[in-house]
Symmetry: C2
Subunit: 226 residues, 2 copies
């Protein structure tokens, strides 16, 4: 049987998994709003972000009182500090979904993403959502194998971001400056969601193995190096 400390620690990780489910719903809603120009869905993503913020506060309070009352050392301390970091990253992924939803809302009744970039943006969104969708299980089951496999998805995100830049900058962009700015920022937001997902997954690997997976150069840097 688990002692009280480890039971409370498990419950912190259940809360992290719950937040990552909420973030997945936010990413999915933001993308749906973006690709369909649906203001109502965008509003829902924006207003539901407060629940993610609240859930983060709860995790922080619980982790903090565990730190303070149980004074864990060594491995347990590392796990708890990692939890505090993961919850910040998950919350930030929620904020980034809100940014996507706000671009969607801003262009209603139009759709921010022109038809010919839709495949690339839509694929970026799918990759991001799928990464977030895997996090809950990785967090609860400490699934190191799947966490390490995130590197592959992250590389696809790199390639997709480079594609958006290629489409924007090939000298033949027909959709004007507003759409170009939207696509550049949307690419950045999805890429950052993926970056944070990789970081959360890496923290699970670290908790279990004591090693951080070697991270290749940040997506943003590769993309901007185009």
């Amino acid at each position: 049987m688990r002692d009280a400390f480890h039971e409370q620690l498990d419950s912190v990780f259940d809360d992290l998994a719950d937040i990552s489910n909420r973030v997945r719903i936010a990413v999915h809603g933001a993308t749906t709003a973006l690709l369909s120009g649906d203001a109502e869905i965008a509003e829902r993503v924006i207003s539901q972000d407060a629940a993610i913020d609240l859930a983060r506060e709860r995790v922080e309070d619980n982790a903090f009182s565990l730190l303070s009352l149980q004074q864990p050392v060594a491995g347990d301390l590392r796990v708890l500090v990692a939890a505090l970091r993961m919850v910040s990253e998950l919350e930030r992924m929620g904020d980034l979904s809100v940014h996507v939803a706000k671009i969607a809302r801003l262009r209603v009744p139009n759709v921010a993403v022109p038809e010919d970039v839709r495949p690339t943006v839509s694929r970026m969104a799918d990759v991001a959502e799928s990464m977030v969708g895997r996090l809950a299980r990785i967090i609860v089951d400490r699934d190191v194998e799947d966490a390490i496999a995130f590197a592959e998805a992250d590389e696809e995100m790199d390639r997709l971001r480079r594609s958006t830049f290629a489409e924007l900058l090939d000298g033949d962009w027909p959709h004007g400056v507003e759409a170009a700015v939207d696509i550049a920022l949307l690419g950045r937001y999805y890429e950052r969601i993926a970056d944070h997902a990789v970081s959360v997954a890496n923290r699970i690997v670290y908790i279990v193995t004591g090693e951080t997976p070697h991270s290749h150069e940040s997506v943003a840097e590769v993309a901007v190096d185009l």
Copy 2:
């Protein structure tokens, strides 16, 4: 006389101040490279980021061993956890300076910022650099008054980001898609540097007063709401 714990805690805060000085130099260098198209300065900012990453690791290791060996509670624990968060944010500000430097490098021998947007971008950079420049003293002296005054600089950053969007999207942008994408991303990077600076300043206010200053809506959200 301070006891050993508080002496080590002071040294963690001295390291945080040292990192914020390095970040200020990075922001300054990135802006200089950006506005002059100087590849050498851009390279320097990019290569010096490794030193910021190392300094962050040192702070994390020290904070972690303080947590583990001294098992602080209540106020001391909150201060140490806040230090761990501040160092992540400072490191991130270094990364964002690298992003600015990489846009500068990408456009050499040209300058990424067209002449007529230069005043706005240059002012954004000044506001960001000045905020970062104030952090070292705020961190070491626990200068709550100056930390609270960051709200003003942050509001100016909001207005400047809105100005860049207005310039980009007034239907009369003569500089093409590449420059528009650069300006949109640069605006985002400087804004994020300012956001993180506000967050670090707010943590100092929290450490000293136990209260977090009311933060107005995130800059990004206001800007995207244009």
